[in-house]
Symmetry: C2
Subunit: 244 residues, 2 copies
């Protein structure tokens, strides 16, 4: 059977989702624990390859297994084996041909900017501390230019290798929540570092170094050098993936 | 001059506040960095000796130093030296005879219970995960019995050596905040493990194993064995100390 997992993790200690030679990854830990538990060679396939240091409340992974175990029990069994910073919050059976890359989905990311004079040690791993004032009104106006279907080449790491840079963002919002500024992005897909470059650019807008109406031109330029810097990974969390 | 520091920290990696032989403590780190920075042997004195694993947003410490440095700049200078999980959020000069143990104060602690089916990896170090339903209404009624002046021997670790077990709690509240249940305790002083035993007892109430009106008798018993268990340290944060 094919099983779909919903996976939450604290990305602090991991070199991102995808297996790679120079550090431990979420995918690697899941492969190891599933292989040991089912005593079969199991490889998961993830919906989103989050970067090193990025967190998740609801990444999705599938794997195939020869087992008659009740699928909803797999999450409980796995959680007793997994390290505390990875939690499977749901497991269910899906059709044998269900594949997260070939089903329309909406991914929601949240980026938390801690906007205080001093760093907060309790939130330091899950927020980006920025201690100057930011013009949230301007950031929100700028955010609206990202919504819709665009070629997001300006907001993609130059390292990315993809067929198309076109993505559709359904919503980009900026909200103050107590002492945090939260940027929320929902879209049908995201390029490599895309949310972090959008946030880095919105911070430039909040500082007054980019005008909100300049975003349109930055998108049109299709040039990474025109956008702002890539915001640090620790502030970013993949909140959920909705299959539609 | 005598300097007062307000210190925030993530207690996860520390064996509490007070210097001790078998692990690194907050006090020890502050002593080391202050001694190196001022090139004088400096020892801080803390207002609250938080336990191993307990967090703080506003513990207070004093130290004496021979320096003409602007006191408010000390926090900035120290933060460049301190590890990321300790942040001095304020520094100011106080009278030479000002001492946190001999000034009336109100301490506020917050205990966060994450009340969800699965652990949240992003909050695991700062909340106590409890996955069964809790009767918050009953917990709140029970909480009110703690308010006022009582002999809190039943809510004190048997290891404690103190002259008096009498403390005055100004407020004990229980609130649901999204998927967390937050217990807030404000009082003029707290015994060893007192907040954690109060929370452990309130959880017993929430489970239906202790009735709210039984709290009165548990306090009167002056016997640690009558109260509930000591809740884990990770859920506890010293929020602030007000000098009145």
């Amino acid at each position: 059977m094919r099983v779909k997992l919903t996976v939450a993790y604290d990305g602090t200690a991991y070199h991102g989702w995808q297996v790679q030679p120079n550090g431990i990854t979420i995918e690697e830990v899941l492969n190891k624990e599933l292989t040991e538990f089912f005593e079969q060679d199991i490889k998961v396939l993830g919906a989103s390859r989050t970067d090193s240091g990025v967190h998740s409340l609801g990444n999705v992974a599938i794997f195939d297994v020869d087992s008659c175990m009740e699928p909803t029990r797999i999450s409980y069994a796995l959680n007793t084996r997994l390290p505390k910073d990875i939690v499977v919050v749901d497991s269910c059976k899906v059709d044998d041909d269900w594949h997260p890359h070939f089903v329309d989905s909406l991914k929601t990311y949240k980026y938390r900017i801690l906007n205080t004079t001093f760093e907060d040690p309790i939130r330091r791993l899950y927020t980006y501390h920025y201690h100057y004032d930011l013009d949230i009104e301007a950031m929100l106006r700028a955010a609206k230019y990202f919504e819709g279907t665009h070629d997001f080449r300006s907001f993609c790491s130059v390292k990315a290798q993809v067929n198309t840079f076109t993505r559709t963002l359904k919503e980009v919002s900026v909200n103050r929540q107590d002492d945090e500024i939260v940027v929320k992005c929902t879209g049908d897909g995201f390029l490599y570092n895309m949310v972090r470059i959008i946030v880095g650019t919105l911070i430039k807008v909040g500082e007054g170094n980019i005008k909100p109406e300049e975003i349109e031109g930055i998108i049109e330029a299709k040039d990474r050098a025109c956008a702002g810097p890539t915001a640090p990974p620790c502030g970013l969390t993949l909140v959920k993936i909705d299959y539609i």
